[in-house]
Subunit: 150 residues, 4 copies
């Protein structure tokens, strides 16, 4: 498989099991080696008063884009942690777009930057930096162990 094919196959395998992302209507609109784009519409059940999205859902979208990006090489990779800065609120009805790009990989670690915008090319809602850790196993083979020791 080419790196792009690997990324798409890994993404498909992840999405199939990711009930959380499916139920929130998150779509992976683009994926490639070390990068992924995720989109989600802010619904009423995501708001916390004043028609503003709960910051947790903004994080969740960014974290999803990050997860697909850091698993795009096919090796099982976990989120070790992340930092987020909330730039401006997302609002009911916004079509949020999270673009994840790899900054650096070293050993089994990686750093990924994710920018969440209110719409494609729209104003920035949040900036996120995720830290990944690759563990044993592959997304592209039958798995017998999904241990998640960091």
């Amino acid at each position: 498989m080419t790196p792009d094919e690997t990324a798409r196959a890994a993404g498909a395998a992840m999405y199939a099991g990711d009930l959380a992302s499916q139920r929130l209507g998150i779509e992976i609109t683009e994926i490639g080696p070390g990068r992924a784009t995720a989109a989600m519409r802010v619904t009423e059940t995501m708001t916390n008063g004043h028609k503003v999205a709960h910051g947790g859902y903004v994080f969740l979208l960014a974290d999803t884009a990050f997860a697909f990006a850091c698993n795009s090489y096919g090796a099982n990779t976990l989120a070790a942690g992340a930092e987020i800065s909330f730039v401006e609120p997302a609002r009911l009805g916004d079509e949020l777009i999270a673009v994840a790009v790899e900054r650096v990989r070293y050993g089994r670690s990686g750093l990924y930057d994710v920018t969440v915008r209110r719409s494609p090319g729209g104003p920035v809602v949040a900036e996120f930096r995720g830290r990944s850790r690759t563990v044993a196993g592959s997304l592209l083979e039958p798995q017998t162990d999904n241990g998640a020791s960091p």
Copy 2:
């Protein structure tokens, strides 16, 4: 009002408008000046394969505890950002408990530490540190402006 009464009144005002937390079954089990505890059970729609909770929901719970803690003085306070480290996975059926405590306040800024555990006294799932910023307005008075410029 005493500080404890202010915290409870601010928490009640927040919770009433927080559809996101209500729909996820999050409960604020304790609140006081500069602190709050939030609880949430991991349901199937929060999992992302392998019966492991999507990290975004772990963050969301921690962020909720943080929001209630930093608003407990009654002044409108926003999440400016946060850092999270994922310690071990949360699983389907876990009753997660997030305890937020204030570390320091300075000017209009504050730092709050949140520990998420798998159950009360159980193993740590995540460590979170939130950065808050107090803006104009009060949770305890009629509001005409909920501008969120950070």
Copy 3:
């Protein structure tokens, strides 16, 4: 003044008072609106055993590039905080290069990404993200107040 001239004037004003950077031999090799590059050679007094640079000096260099970048518009701007990931050790004799670029500005806040490399184009030593806060006053006028309330 053009934005580039403002950046150079602000940088010169900062450097003149920055005894710490001068004594460490840090040079600002490039500055423009929202960006700056700083260089520093790792000397023996910066090492903490095994000829490896103390991580604090790697941070200090990144923080310096960040400070010059976020002050490049001429308005007094403070470091509110930062996150650093250490990618690989810097060693005695390395000519470290820290390149700071602005990611986003919003209200009086800003985010700046700094990559520290072992040499220009060399391997990454650290990735840094700084959070800035603009306060009253200008670097380009006589100052009577350098209050630093965050």
Copy 4:
């Protein structure tokens, strides 16, 4: 050796090689399992104008306390990264005190919180959270390999 003896022996071994800390006059005033206290006086060469300490030196002191705390079990442990919030400036002549305490260890990872104060019991200058990673080797035996692959 008891845990306290191990911590003291590990600290002594680290300090002996830590030219950077020695030259800055940093003293390790207390060390135990998972904790350490470091002290440093702000000298003129640490200032960056207006008699305010360069934030890099505040970080360096916190990072030093963190390093001694996470190595206090005797196993070679590296700083993987850190987050710092600057609360208020440190000034020329301040006797800064950094107290590092372990928050959680899991697998080969750890999180340590460091508070830097202007003097013992004085106002907070910065809050720091360090992420550690234990690698092969011991501080208490002859070392043949100090590889630092994260």
